[in-house]
C-alpha cells in the first residue's frame, strides 16, 4: 500500500512541482510582498505601507465602486437571461437545438482581443451599428466611450454577451436533470406552465443557479479584459476602472508590486466574503 502511494506520488511529482512553483509560491509570495515597501531598493518590511495606503486611496475606492456596481447589476441580469435562454433551449418546440447550443456557447471561445475590437466597432459613435439601430428607431446616438454611464453599460453588455450563453449551457444541464414526469404530474395537478416554472423549475434549479452565480461573482471581481480593451484602460478618466485594472496599473505599469499584491488580496477576500454570504442566504432550510 505504502509502496503504491509512493509510486503514485512519483507520477504526480511533475505536476506538484509546477503547481508549487507557479501557484502556491506566488500566492504566498504576494502575501508577503503586500507587507513590503517595494518602491525602494532593497524592498523593506513595512506592514502598514501598502495596506494603509489602500484604506485611504481614492483610486482604490473608485475601482471598488465600479467593480461592485458591475457585480450587482450585471450578474443578476446575466443569470436571469441565462435561465431564460436555458429554458428556451430546453423547449421541445425548438428545432436544430445543437446549432443554438453552439451559438450560445461560441462567445466563450472567441478570442478576447477580436471580440473587444468588434465591440468597439459596433458601439462606435459615428458608424457603429448600435447607434445606427438607435437612430433608426428615432433615438439619438450615444457616445459610448466618452461618458461614464454609457461606458459602464457597455462593459456590462459586453460581459453579459460573453458569459450568458456559458451559464445557459450549465443551467440547461440542470434543467435536463429534472424528470419530465414531475412536470406531467404538475400538469395533471392543474398547475399552469408559468407556475410550474416558479414553483418547480426554479427551486429544483437553485443549486445550479447558485453555482453559476458564484462563478460569475468570482469572474466579475477579477474583471479586466473588457475595461482594458473595450473602454481603453478603464476610460473615460478611470470611470470604468476595476480592481483588476487597478492591480495591473500598479503592478505592471508602476512596478509597485507591494501595493498590487495588497489589491489582489483585497479582491480575493471580497470574492470569498461575497460568495459565503450568498451561499448562506441561499442555503437549504433544514
Amino acid at each position: 500500500m505504502r509502496h503504491q502511494n509512493a509510486t503514485a506520488y512519483r507520477f504526480l511529482t511533475p505536476y506538484l512541482l509546477i503547481f508549487s512553483i507557479f501557484w502556491v509560491w506566488p500566492i504566498i509570495s504576494s502575501f508577503l510582498i503586500s507587507f513590503q515597501a517595494t518602491r525602494t531598493v532593497p524592498w523593506r518590511f513595512a506592514p502598514t505601507f501598502n495596506w494603509g495606503r489602500l484604506i485611504g486611496d481614492p483610486a482604490f475606492y473608485n475601482a471598488l465602486k465600479n467593480t461592485l456596481l458591475i457585480l450587482v447589476i450585471q450578474v443578476p441580469v446575466m443569470i436571469s437571461l441565462a435561465i431564460v435562454m436555458a429554458v428556451l433551449l430546453n423547449s421541445p418546440l425548438l428545432k436544430v437545438r445543437g446549432l443554438y447550443r453552439f451559438a450560445f456557447f461560441a462567445p466563450v471561445v472567441v478570442g478576447e482581443v477580436a471580440y473587444s475590437a468588434v465591440f468597439r466597432l459596433m458601439f462606435n459613435l459615428n458608424f457603429g451599428i448600435i447607434n445606427k439601430l438607435l437612430n433608426s428607431v428615432g433615438l439619438p446616438s450615444v457616445d459610448w466611450f466618452s461618458n461614464v454611464t454609457p461606458a459602464m453599460a457597455l462593459i456590462m453588455i459586453a460581459v453579459t454577451w460573453r458569459w450568458a450563453g456559458y451559464n445557459a449551457i450549465i443551467l440547461l444541464a440542470g434543467l435536463q436533470s429534472i424528470p419530465d414526469d414531475v412536470y406531467e404530474a404538475a400538469t395533471l395537478d392543474r398547475v399552469s406552465k408559468v407556475k410550474q416554472f416558479f414553483y418547480i423549475t426554479l427551486p429544483l434549479l437553485k443549486p445550479i443557479i447558485v453555482f453559476c452565480a458564484v462563478l460569475s461573482i468570482i469572474g466579475t471581481m477579477q474583471l479586466f479584459t473588457e475595461p482594458f480593451l473595450i473602454t481603453e484602460r478603464g476610460g473615460p478618466g478611470g470611470g470604468t476602472e476595476t480592481l483588476g485594472l487597478l492591480l495591473y496599473r500598479q503592478g505592471f505599469r508602476s512596478l509597485n508590486f507591494g501595493y498590487a499584491s495588497a489589491v489582489a488580496y483585497t479582491m480575493a477576500g471580497l470574492a470569498i466574503a461575497i460568495t459565503l454570504v450568498q451561499l448562506w442566504l441561499t442555503r437549504d432550510p433544514k
Binding site: 424528470p179 414531475v182 406531467e184 400538469t187 395533471l188 395537478d189 392543474r190 398547475v191 418547480i200 429544483l204
Partner: protein, 361 residues
C-alpha cells in the same frame, strides 16, 4: 366518477404505429386493468386517456364527453406514475396540497382533503418529510395520496408497484383494492404482472403489440381465453401448449392425438365446424389441470427433469423443446428428477388452438 370510452383509438409515433385501434368501454366505478408484455402500448394508452399524449385517430370520452381536445388539466383525472414523480423539493404535505394550493382552493378544504388522504393511506406521521427521506412503499402512498386529494373522476395507475419488493407489493395491492372499494371511483391500472391483474381487476384488458386481444372478467379470461396469447398470459405458471393432430372428426366433435405422445387421444366437443382430419392444432392444458393417471380422458407419460417444491404444491418440469411441460402436483413432495410420471388430461379442461393461435371452440 365517470365512465371512460375508447373508440378506435390509434397512436402513431412518427410513422410508427404503437396502438392500432383500441375499443374499450369502462363503466363508472369499474376497476379495469391493462395487462400485456413490455412495449405493448399500455402506458401509451393510459397517457392518451390522461391527455399527456395526443391521439392520432379515434375518440376518447370521459363521463360521456369526448375529450380529444380537452387539456390534460381539465379532464378530471389523476395519475399515479411508475416513478412516483413526487415533487422532490416539497414535503409530503406540500406534495399533497400543491395542486389545490396552486388553484386557489380554499385553505380549510385543502387541509381537510390532505388530512383525509393521509388517514386513508396512513402517512400522517410522514407529513413533514421530503420524498428523499421516504421508503419506496411510503413514496408510493404519497403518490396515491396526491391523486386522492384531487378527488378525480378517474384514477390512472401506471405500474405503481413495480419498484416494490414482493411482500410490499402484495400489501399495497390489498390497499389499492381497499381504496377502490372506499372511493368507488373508476380506476384504470396498468401492469405487466398477471397476478396483479387477476387479483385487482373487475375486468382485464389484455394487450399485445398495440392490439386489444381480449377484454373480460379475470376468471372468464382464465377459463375461456380467446386465443393462445391470452391463454398463455393469464395464469401462473403458464399454460402448456402441446402440438397435436386431428385424427377423426364427427358432428360437433374432433378427436386429436398428441404429436409427442403417440396414442394419447382426446375427443373434444366443438361448437364450430371441426378442422379437417390431419390438420395440425395445439392443445393447451394448464399446469393445474393434470390429473392422476386414469382419472381423465387420456393419459400421458413423461419423465421429470426438475421438481420445485413450494410447500403446498410442487411443479414438475418435464420434457424439452416443444414438448416441455409444467405439471402441478399436490402431495408429491418425494418426486425427484428422473422419475417417470403418468398424468391424465380431461377434455373439458383442455383448450384447442389452431397453429396461428386462434381458439377452436
Amino acid at each position: 366518477m365517470a365512465a371512460v370510452t375508447l373508440t378506435n383509438v390509434v397512436k402513431r409515433f412518427g410513422g410508427f404505429g404503437v396502438v392500432h385501434g383500441a375499443n374499450i368501454d369502462i363503466a363508472e366505478g369499474e376497476f379495469v386493468v391493462f395487462v400485456g408484455p413490455s412495449g405493448c402500448g399500455k402506458s401509451t394508452l393510459l397517457r392518451m386517456i390522461a391527455g399527456l399524449e395526443d391521439i392520432s385517430a379515434g375518440e376518447i370520452a370521459i363521463g360521456g364527453k369526448v375529450v380529444n381536445d380537452v387539456e390534460a388539466a381539465e379532464r378530471g383525472i389523476a395519475m399515479v406514475f411508475q416513478s412516483y414523480a413526487l415533487y422532490p423539493h416539497m414535503t409530503v404535505e406540500q406534495n399533497l396540497s400543491f395542486g389545490l394550493r396552486m388553484n386557489g382552493n380554499p385553505k380549510p378544504d385543502t387541509e381537510r382533503r390532505v388530512r383525509r388522504a393521509a388517514e386513508i393511506l396512513r402517512i400522517d406521521e410522514l407529513m413533514h418529510r421530503r420524498p428523499k427521506q421516504l421508503s419506496g412503499g411510503q413514496r408510493q402512498r404519497v403518490a396515491i395520496g396526491r391523486a386522492i386529494v384531487r378527488e378525480p373522476q378517474v384514477f390512472l395507475f401506471d405500474e405503481p408497484l413495480s419498484n416494490l419488493d414482493a411482500e410490499l407489493r402484495v400489501q399495497m395491492r390489498v390497499e389499492i383494492s381497499r381504496l377502490h372499494k372506499e372511493l368507488g371511483v373508476t380506476m384504470i391500472y396498468v401492469t405487466h404482472d398477471q397476478t396483479e391483474a387477476m387479483t385487482l381487476a373487475d375486468r382485464i384488458v389484455v394487450l399485445k403489440a398495440g392490439n386489444v386481444e381480449q377484454i373480460g372478467a379475470p376468471l372468464d379470461l382464465y377459463d375461456d381465453p380467446a386465443n393462445r396469447f391470452v391463454a398463455g398470459f393469464i395464469g401462473s405458471p403458464k399454460m402448456n401448449f402441446m402440438p397435436a393432430r386431428v385424427v377423426e372428426t364427427g358432428p360437433g366433435a374432433a378427436t386429436v392425438e398428441l404429436v409427442n405422445h403417440a396414442g394419447a387421444r382426446l375427443s373434444k366437443p366443438l361448437q364450430s365446424t371441426p378442422p379437417a382430419v390431419g390438420a395440425e392444432v395445439v392443445l393447451g392444458v394448464r399446469p393445474e389441470h393434470f390429473f392422476d393417471a386414469g382419472k381423465g380422458d387420456c393419459d400421458i407419460a413423461v419423465k421429470a427433469d426438475v421438481a420445485e417444491h413450494l410447500g403446498s404444491v410442487s411443479y414438475v418440469y418435464a420434457g424439452a423443446g416443444d414438448d416441455e411441460l409444467i405439471i402441478e402436483r399436490e402431495a408429491s413432495r418425494q418426486r425427484a428428477s428422473g422419475d417417470h410420471l403418468t398424468v391424465a388430461i380431461k377434455a373439458d379442461k383442455a383448450l384447442l388452438f389452431d397453429t396461428k393461435g386462434a381458439r377452436i371452440r
